[in-house]
Amino acid sequence: MIALFYIAAFVAVISTLMAITRFNAVHALIYLVVSLLSVAVIFYLLGAPFAAALEVIIYAGAIMVLLIFMVMMLHLGETSIQQEKQWLNWSVWLGPGFLSLILLVEMSYLLVVSNEPGEGLTVVDATQVGIALYGPYIITVELAAILLLAGIVGAYYLGQEKRRVLHRFLNQEDND
């Protein structure tokens, strides 16, 4: 159990370190996704399966993919083609892939053995979270909704384009 934690922690630290030291944004983001995945594993180990799921789905899944998409949109011109060639290079994927593999093994192991949390820690499962969320914390849920509303309106306004083009693929679509 504790070994699993250390392995995941190790993966998290390494991948985070890699993420902040990469020059290429996509590489960094991929390492960051790995980091988030390893944190998700740790959440699971800590007895927070719901949080682990959200970490994977929303953080790693949605937010990071959004970032990656953004990076890809912004890379233009010759240099970006060069970079894109590099992305296809298998060695780039090796690091994140290896680290993810460790996590995968870990997860498999966890699925096989029991998932009792460590001493002094209690599992707080989705049911409890849900009851709290829609019980005493209902107001904060509403507030979170307003938070997202502000985010959406802000992003919508700032993201509006006068159809001026950022990416060569989009360029073609706009011309017709």
């Binding site: 107001i139 904060t140 509403e142 507030l143 979170a144 509303l149 502000a150 309106v153 802000g154 700032l158």
Partner: protein, 475 residues
């Protein structure tokens, strides 16, 4: 969730509905004036509801340990609402002149106010955090609202990165405190914070960093001038008043409820920050030729003054903070308002733009002068009573060093405020090109006049306001 008195929550609910309603109206019929009127009406309704609640006699009520509805919070809700309405009036003509699509601004504005209102009634980490973030995220977008300007985008992005970073600090600190105490609401935290412990100390320290950032206190002040300069003037007014003000309120509540002032190191840290803010804010302002940056540095100093009152921690302290905030709200909104009520693209930015204004626009200049006098604390203005209150609180608690620093800082502050006033009085050479300032917007001028009179009124007859503030039971 049971036993919630919806009567007490009604202002909050009303305000929370406001941005949604505005958004829906925009979806149906997109028109700047209509949106503006709607936003104003909604805010006025909110204000009326607050006043209604104020006039009721009720016991302070907690809503699930998350929010505290009491007179203290209500007072600031009213202040925020009034400030908000005033800023809206300033914004209207400004937006007309400077952006193509203005409607979303009001939605963001209203959400920002929701955040501020949640903050001032927050007694729980969750509401503190959410209120803060609602406010911040609305502000990111509002700072960058004049997106044709490079400065605006740059300001918005800088604010986003720094505010998010400071939120991370705040959150990490909260997390550590939670880990230590197992509680998220201030009162429970207070009761289990008694013994000093590495983790809770680290938690408080990190929260201090986060709060220091949000308030723009030295040494976390670097963002302030850039953001003040980059943001459109009405938004700067909002940041300087509502955003910082509500953060101060929640800080007061937090310190008061958790009794964190028992830790000497917190007091020491705050004192150091206050002294540094007062001195550095004033000193750096000396060099500025950009009005907004000047006001930004002065706001650093002002937050330092507020911190002095907070540190004092006596009965007077909360009163002093409250009065000071009222005075500061009026003066700073007035000062930024004047920069933005000209019917021309852009705004007054440089001190030199004001040259000779006293002779061409005497009334406006007098108001501007009054605002500045209030900010510097010259008698017969609200700012003076505010500063007086703060010095009183400091002296009452025997904080002589802080009181003296405040004095020194004010004296330095005089120099740069006077420079601005001097510039207004310096006549322009006859053959100089006509100033680029356009016509004044009537609405803006009316708002400014009201603010100017308020500053004088609260400076000459502070009694009523003091009585109201005294009637608030201390938390």
């Amino acid at each position: 969730m049971e036993n919630i008195d919806f009567n007490l929550l009604s202002p909050l609910i009303l305000l929370a509905v406001a941005p949604v309603a505005t958004l829906m109206v925009i979806a149906i019929y997109r028109n700047h004036t209509v949106t503006f009127c709607l936003a104003v009406i909604l805010l006025v309704l909110f204000l009326i509801d607050c006043f209604r609640l104020w006039s009721l006699s009720f016991d302070n009520q907690m809503v699930d340990d998350l929010l505290m509805i009491d007179k203290f919070g209500l007072f600031f809700m009213i202040l925020i609402a009034i400030g908000g309405i005033l800023i809206l009036f300033i914004s209207y003509s400004y937006l007309n002149n400077n952006v193509k699509v203005a409607e979303e601004f009001y939605v963001l504005f209203l959400t920002a106010l929701v955040g501020a209102v949640v903050l001032v009634s927050s007694i729980h980490f969750a509401t503190l955090f959410l209120g803060l973030e609602i406010l911040s995220i609305s502000l990111y977008a509002m700072i960058a609202y004049t997106r044709e300007w490079k400065n605006s985008i740059e300001g918005g992005l800088k604010y986003l990165i720094l505010a998010a970073g400071s939120s991370a600090f705040l959150l990490f600190g909260m997390g550590l405190i939670y880990l230590q105490t197992g509680a998220l609401d201030f009162e429970a935290i207070g009761s289990s914070l008694e013994k000093v412990n590495l983790i809770s100390t680290a938690g408080l320290a990190m929260m201090l960093v986060g709060i220091g950032f949000k308030l723009g206190l030295v040494p976390f002040h670097i963002w302030t001038p850039d953001i003040y300069q980059g943001a459109p003037a009405p938004v700067t007014a909002l940041i300087a008043s509502v955003s910082k003000g509500s953060m101060v309120v929640v800080l007061v509540r937090f310190l008061h409820t958790t009794n964190s002032q028992q830790f000497a190191w917190i007091i020491w840290t705050f004192s150091a920050m206050a002294i540094a803010s007062m001195l550095i804010g004033s000193l750096l302002a000396l060099k500025q030729s950009n009005l907004k940056r000047l006001l930004a540095y002065s706001s650093i100093a002002h937050l330092g003054y507020l911190l002095v009152a907070i540190i004092a921690g006596s009965d007077f302290s909360v009163e002093a903070v409250t009065y000071y905030l009222v005075a500061y709200f009026i003066s700073i909104i007035g000062a930024f308002g004047i920069l933005s009520i000209f019917n021309s693209t852009g705004e007054i930015e440089q001190v030199s733009d004001l040259q000779g204004m006293f002779w061409t626009r005497p009334w406006l200049s007098v108001i501007f002068g009054v605002m500045f006098f209030s900010l510097v604390g010259i008698p017969l203005t609200a700012g003076f009573i505010g500063k007086f209150y703060v010095v009183m609180a400091a002296v009452n608690s025997g904080l002589w060093a802080l009181a003296i620093t405040l004095v020194v800082s004010s004296a330095i502050g005089l120099y740069y405020y006077l420079r601005v006033i001097k510039t207004m009085l310096t006549p322009v050479a006859k053959d100089a090109p006509k100033s680029a300032l356009g016509q004044l917007s009537t609405m803006g001028l009316v708002v400014m006049s009201i603010l100017g009179l308020l500053v004088i009124w609260f400076g000459v007859f502070p009694s009523q306001l003091i009585a109201v503030i005294r009637s608030i039971e201390v938390l």
